[in-house]
């Protein structure tokens, strides 16, 4: 099975190389140009002096802060909503109303509320990651077999024990799904979060937008690839964590 994993990236790379090389994709840079662009980002930086390492570090801080906020609020809220029908009825309409609004649309408000620094960027990213985490947690809690809860109660378990020993472990696989999707959307929201301003001149999203302004599509695509790789790595880490935590299954 392992060797199958490299097929789709290789096919995509081959197609890209072929079509860009033939000039069928307009001014799309070839993979080779993008690799050179990657070297430029590491050695020279964009803007010059602002190296890729710094952009990655700055974006990691933003993605982590936003994601952590989404996680810390999203999981407990999801558990309570899944647990209580009344709470679900009360909260669900608001959640469904806010959920379709793209993070980008919140940007001007976020800046009024939190300024142009980390707070507003974390808010935008948290907003993106929040909903998949909440909704998957809710569905995870609901998926726990009611007979298990009954059995625990019959055996004398109080509400706390039921929550900690039955509901949360039972919802774990679904929570992990939400966390994985949430992490992906956190990276997707990065460009929106860094679109208006970055105070220290660093950020992958900011770097990509600068490459666009300067018509350096090789650097732009290199930045996209970096985000893709980082997102892949984090997804892999979360899956590893999932395997470890859910080894009882």
């Amino acid at each position: 099975m392992r060797k199958w994993k490299i097929i789709s990236p290789l096919v995509a790379l081959g197609l890209w190389w072929l079509l860009a090389g033939l000039g069928w994709l307009g001014h799309t840079p070839t993979p080779l140009a993008v690799i050179k662009g990657f070297g430029h980002l590491v050695a020279t930086g964009l803007p010059p002096g602002y190296h890729l390492q710094g952009h990655v570090a700055a974006s990691l801080v933003r993605v982590f802060t936003g994601f952590a906020i989404a996680l810390v609020i999203g999981v407990p809220l999801g558990i309570f909503i899944g647990y209580s029908k009344k709470l679900e009825a009360a909260v669900d309409p608001l959640v469904e109303l806010i959920r379709p609004i793209p993070p980008l649309a919140w940007l001007p408000l976020a800046i009024i509320w939190f300024g142009i620094g980390l707070a507003s960027q974390a808010y935008i990213i948290a907003l993106g990651a929040f909903f998949p985490i909440v909704l998957n947690t809710v569905s995870g809690v609901k998926s726990v077999d009611p007979r298990l809860i009954e059995a625990a109660r019959t055996l004398g378990a109080g509400p706390r024990t039921v929550l900690a020993r039955v509901l949360v472990p039972g919802a774990m696989p679904s929570i992990f799904t939400g966390v994985r999707i949430g992490m992906g959307i956190a990276w997707m929201s990065l460009i929106a979060a860094e679109l208006v301003s970055v105070q220290n001149g660093y950020g992958l999203g900011y770097m990509i937008m600068t490459a666009r302004d300067l018509a350096r599509y090789d650097l732009l695509v290199a930045g996209m690839v970096v985000i893709g790789i980082l997102g892949y790595l984090f997804d892999w880490l979360i899956r590893l964590l999932e395997k470890r935590t859910l080894s009882w299954r």
């Binding site: 099975m1 307009g26 800046i111 018509a215």
Partner: protein
């Protein structure tokens, strides 16, 4: 997991993949085919709500394009110059109103084959300082945080020029990128001390008491180029007469704005939805002249070349190639 695929389904998959590839190829080829027939239809792009490009709006509203017998089709309204230039790259635009900076950037990177056929405006930017910052000259910016709309933009160059004139080392100023709509908020909440932006943002900042004008760009660099009328080189080659007609309408509109200031303000208000008082103030800071000055543009091209933003061997030669004023008739500016 182990399973065996039936040979039939795998053959079918191959067929599907082949079909998709062919479809993609057909699409790509279809996109390349363009007729070389002459046309009176012009696909135009411009920047949304940009007062610098008022001549376009005036020419449209006053029927100057119709007078010239050309059919102007608005195919793109853009938020920013680079997006508009990428539409030129894609071959979706024939003529566009756009800033000199993105036009030079894309031409200098061979990302778009365009010529500057006329100028839309000069000046039109300002350094705005938030209330509470002491001092009333550019030297007051030393040690402060100053926002520009982007790296190597005209505003970046204007700020560096102003700092140089005031003997301030740019390294002593914290220059950050903030998009103009958000500059106002950042000024009002003291997250930045000053900002360099194009109109109407400086006038909006003043109207909202978020800042005061430290220096207009006219003072920093008199009659500096700003927005341009840019045309696709292939379109120029195939339809020189259509370009000439378009430029004639643009020249007429530019003169009209100069001769009818008050009406122009009203039109500016209609065009951008901007408060009339703000539009009036903003218009004072914008010069409307249609003849691009090679010497002035060259200065900016040199700045971009030195910054490593464009890969051109000679700034004067590149500038000469970029400007094509043959369509401007009757002289003047």
């Amino acid at each position: 997991m182990k399973y065996r695929k039936s040979p039939v389904s795998s053959r079918r998959n191959t067929a599907v993949v082949l079909f998709l590839l062919l479809a993609l190829a057909a699409l790509a080829l279809g996109g390349c085919g363009s007729s070389a027939k002459t046309t009176r239809v012009v696909r135009v792009g411009f920047l949304r709500n940009d007062l610098h490009q008022l001549a376009y709006y005036v020419a449209r509203e006053k029927g100057f394009f119709k007078e010239q017998g050309i059919d102007v089709r608005e195919v793109g309204q853009f938020n920013a110059g680079p997006e508009e230039m990428s539409a030129f790259s894609a071959g979706d635009l024939d003529i566009g109103y756009v800033g000199a900076a993105p036009a030079i950037t894309f031409a200098g990177q061979d990302m778009a084959d365009v010529k500057i056929v006329a100028q839309a405006n000069t000046g039109g930017s300002s350094i705005v300082v938030r209330p509470g910052v002491e001092g009333n000259d550019v030297a007051a910016l030393k040690g402060r945080t100053v926002a520009i709309p982007g790296i190597s933009t005209m505003q970046d160059f204007l700020l560096r020029t102003a700092l140089k004139k005031a003997n301030v080392d740019p390294a002593d100023v914290n220059i950050i990128v903030v998009k103009p709509p958000e500059m106002l908020q950042a000024l009002a909440s003291a997250q930045i001390d000053a900002a360099v932006a194009w109109e109407p943002y400086p006038s909006m900042a003043v109207a909202q008491n978020a800042g005061w004008v430290l220096m207009t760009s006219q003072k920093i660099w008199p009659d500096h180029p700003c927005c341009m009328v840019v045309a696709d080189s292939r379109f120029i080659k195939a339809n020189p007469d259509t370009v000439r007609r378009f430029v004639a309408a643009h020249v007429k509109a530019t003169k009209y704005i100069r001769d009818n200031k008050l009406e122009a303000v009203d039109l500016a208000h209609l065009y951008t939805g901007q408060d009339p008082a703000v539009a009036r103030n903003a218009m004072k800071n914008i010069g409307f002249s249609y003849l691009p000055e090679a010497k002035l543009l060259e200065r900016y091209v040199s700045f971009m070349k030195d910054a490593g933003v464009i890969k051109v061997t000679s700034a004067p030669a590149f500038t000469r190639r970029l400007i094509d004023t043959q369509f401007i008739q009757g002289g003047g500016s």
